[in-house]
Structure formats: C-alpha cells, structure tokens
Amino acid sequence: MTKTALPLVISTAVRQPRDDRRDVQSLRRLVRGDRDALGDLYDAHAAALFRHGLALTRCMADAEDLVQAVFLKLATTGAPLIAVRSPGNYLHRILRAAWIDEQRRPAVSREAPLQEDDDASLWDGRLARRSGRAAGADDVDAAIDVTRALATLPAVQREIVQLHLIEGFSFREAGRITGVSMFTAASRYRVALGRLRQMMGRR
C-alpha cells in the first residue's frame, strides 16, 4: 500500500455524521405553518427519495409519485413532526410505507414493471445524466453492466444497496427505514453484493 491509498480508504470507510439540525428546524417551521419549509425539505431530500423510490419501483413515474406521496404526508402530519429527530430517515420511512400501500392496491392499477430493454434505457439514462465526472469508456460500460445487474435483484436488495451504498445510510439507519434489524439489513446488503458478483462473473 502506498501513502496515497490511505486517504481513499478512510474516506470510504468513515461516513460523515448527518447534520439534521437544519431539517429539524424546517419541520418545526412546517408545523408552524411555514410553507417555504416544504420547499427546503424538498430541495434537501427529494433526489435521495426519488432514487429510493426508483430502487423500489424501477419506474421513474412511480418513483415521482412516491416522492409526491411523501410530501403530501408531510404537509398533513402537523404537530407530530415536532417529535421527529432524524428527518432523513423519517422521510424515507414515509416513502417506503407509501410504496407498501401501493403494493397492496389491486395490481391492475399499477404499472407493469419495466422490461429488460426499458431497464437498459433507464440505467443508461442514469449514466447519461451523470454530471461533471470524466470517466473512461470501460468504466462507464462496467458501471452500466453492474447497474443493470442491480436492477434484476429483488426490491429489498436493491433498496438496501441504494440506501447504504449510494445514500450513505448506516446499516442501523437503513434497517430502521426498511423495518428490519441492523443485522438483517447488513445481511441483505451482503447477499445483494454476492449476487451482483456472481452475475458479473466475479468471486
């Protein structure tokens, strides 16, 4: 190992603690009837919520509907928001509850899951919108492959990969969001990565 490799290890292994104070203040403003707080919360969390919804539904329109459901719920909850200590986790929990509610509705009212070609275009689109990072063509191809492979995993495995790896939630937080223990969340993540390695032909 070289001296230059060490900072990379540290930066990936140690996550910065979230600073929820601003979001907590936004929630309190919302309880006081300040509508602009809703916009602040949207700007802070909508993208992550959308990606969480996308991991669950694999459909952009459904993911956007889930985001809307989250903010409708937020707007109508009222005083109980005072007790929320971790707004990020709370919003993701709302999104997951909305997704479960959607799953319980009759199947005819839901959109059919995307087919393979749609998956490819979706994930290619994800990469196409990636901003400001220069990468080699091989890197992009590999990322497309693994992201397509991720799309074939079960929803709960896609979800834990999204929450833990992409959004940076700890296993404890991801477990709370998904309603399972920290160990179950870690196990799901490990299984998901194992299956991805199998699909990519790596051990």
Binding site: V9, T12, A13, L30, V31, R32, G33, D34, R35, L38, G39, Y42, D43, A46, A47, F50, R51, L54, M60, A63, E64, V67, Q68, F71, L72, L74, A75, T76, G78, A79, P80, I82, A83, R85, W123, G125, R126, L127, A128, R129, R130, R133, A135, D139, V140, A142, A143, I144, D145, V146, T147, L150, V161, L165, I166, L193, L196, R197, M200, R202
Partner: protein, 132 residues
C-alpha cells in the same frame, strides 16, 4: 473497504426527479400545510417534556417506595375501656376468682371494650361464663 462492484455502483450515476416534479409536488402539498403548533401539542410531542414527565413520575415512585408505608399503630385503649376492665377485675376478685383468672378476665374485657363499635359489655355474663 469498497470493492470494485461497489465502486462501479457508485459510479453508476445518481438520477434525480424531473424539473417539473418540484413544482407539481409543492403545488399539491403546500395548500395542505396548516398551522398546528398549539402549546399542548408542543408539550405532548416534545421529547424534552416527555423526558421531564417520565423523570418526575419515576422520582415520585422511588420516593414512595423509599419512604414505605407507615407502620400500623395500635390505638391506646380509651378511658372507658380501662374503667370497664378494672371493674371486671374487681368483680372477679369479689366473686372469689384467683388473681390470675381475674387478670385474664380484665384483659379480655379490655380487648372487647377497646374494639370500635363494640357492643355494651355484659359484665355479669362474662363472669358467669368464666366461672362455669
């Protein structure tokens, strides 16, 4: 430590909702926002207040447990009961009973006379019962 799969997943881009979604979501949600910050709600949903309330409750319970219930006390016999017992003892001696038996009769009379809402003591019946 991340492996290459994780690194590739991180490199996979981070999609965001469309530009019109923000306006659509906020247009739907903002009209539903209402002021809801009554003092009672703030107290009920505030963790500080809840913690303080729980602490006070626990403190009261602990204080109650440590102080314990007061020891049961026996009320001293009243003056009338003492006089009755003395009369019984005197009557028993006058009737020729031994001193020990007279004292036992007096104690029994005292116990009966000390009971709340005790029936009037029939000294003659008590003496006759002990002489049988």
């Amino acid at each position: 430590m991340m492996d290459d799969i994780e690194r590739q997943l991180l490199d996979g881009g981070r999609p965001e909702p469309g530009r019109d979604v923000r306006a659509r979501v906020l247009a739907a949600a903002m009209p539903l926002v209402r002021r809801d910050d009554s003092r009672l709600d703030r107290v009920w949903f505030s963790r500080t207040w809840r913690t303080a309330g729980a602490t006070v409750f626990v403190a009261l319970v602990v204080t109650e447990m440590l102080s314990g219930s007061p020891a049961p006390t026996v009320a001293p016999p009243g003056r009338a009961a003492l006089e009755t017992a003395q009369a019984v003892e005197t009557a028993a001696r006058d009737a020729g009973l031994p001193a020990a038996q007279a004292s036992a009769l007096a104690a029994r009379a005292l116990a009966i006379a000390s009971q709340p809402a005790a029936a009037p003591l029939n000294v003659d019946a008590l003496l006759q019962g002990s002489m049988r």
